[in-house]
Symmetry: C2
Subunit: 220 residues, 2 copies
Amino acid sequence: MKISVVRNILEANDRIAQQNRDLFTENGLLVINLMSSPGAGKTSLLEKTIDALKDDVGIGIIEGDIQSTQDAERIARKGVPAVQINTGGECHLDGNMIRDAFKEFDFENMDLLIVENVGNLVCPAEFKVGEDFKAMILSVTEGDDKPSKYPLMFRESKVLLINKIDLLPYVDCSLDRIKEDSLKINPDLSIFEISCKTGEGLEEWYEWLRERIKNREVIS
Amino acid sequence: MKISVVRNILEANDRIAQQNRDLFTENGLLVINLMSSPGAGKTSLLEKTIDALKDDVGIGIIEGDIQSTQDAERIARKGVPAVQINTGGECHLDGNMIRDAFKEFDFENMDLLIVENVGNLVCPAEFKVGEDFKAMILSVTEGDDKPSKYPLMFRESKVLLINKIDLLPYVDCSLDRIKEDSLKINPDLSIFEISCKTGEGLEEWYEWLRERIKNREVIS
């Protein structure tokens, strides 16, 4: 019985996510659902990405947190529109929350919307919000056993950004094991090795993302 | 309506957790529910704690993971009984799962049962399993903004272990901010600054834990 309740919730969410998806496509937006454990570097990646792209890409950000507006404040300081969703205890964002938040944007000149999900390597992977694709961050400090222990997020994501590689000399973590195990779960994963602190590896990410924005589906 | 479904699930869980609690007390066990984000160091803390205490404390471990048996294998290598629960997608352990796992133990000579929850800084805080108290780990690599962003777990825990302090020179993280914000949420929190890698700070934790084991409630 519990399972059927969960299934109903997921199906209802899928319908709303599809409506969001249609709305995003009508408005010519590329939408990314960004997920990770708490503290893996989602907001830091957004700050770097905004700095690199904002001169020629219209960017909007939705910040999902259980509580507090710290992340939206960090993004707003970068000079792009940011809407904070406080889930009030919920461990993930869903289609409804994004639909409401999206109303706050003036999306005339927006090309890219990034939704920063609640920090959680489990639940957000189950709930679509209307994104073109999911991207996830794993930091090397979390350890190289994470793909095999939390496979759903690796399976659902199109992109894996392995962050904090500047800390590799100080932690026991094999990049090869992360990459090998991730690709076993999801052979189509695009993997970037990055450090939001030093900037290493970010150029490849920006270039990949620009290509995606250029080739996004636009209906008007 | 969704809220009432969630409330019913939580209330049903509370009843089962209380039954577990009674069973643990009858058997003279101190039970700790250990929680954190993925990769904060739960299994490493268990390995260290087992090495330090196993000669004079009877220890059992329940390992909660969505998938894989890697953590139970790590614990079994330490020579103490370990039962692995695979939640099959669920983001937290609940009372039912612990009741079933507990049957696997020969608890005649056990004093301490530690339940390692699924790596998740959100959902496990809502579900009691019958523990005497909850303990949480936050690693400094996750950042000092976590208490204000994920307050429930800090509020529900009796112990906060701040791990990976050996990495403090390489990350932007203020221990003072973590401690200040945590104590604002939960003034009764016992805080330990530790490194499972170097062993720093662990003696204080062992001593505190020994004291708790000595003074545990025993009914027989």
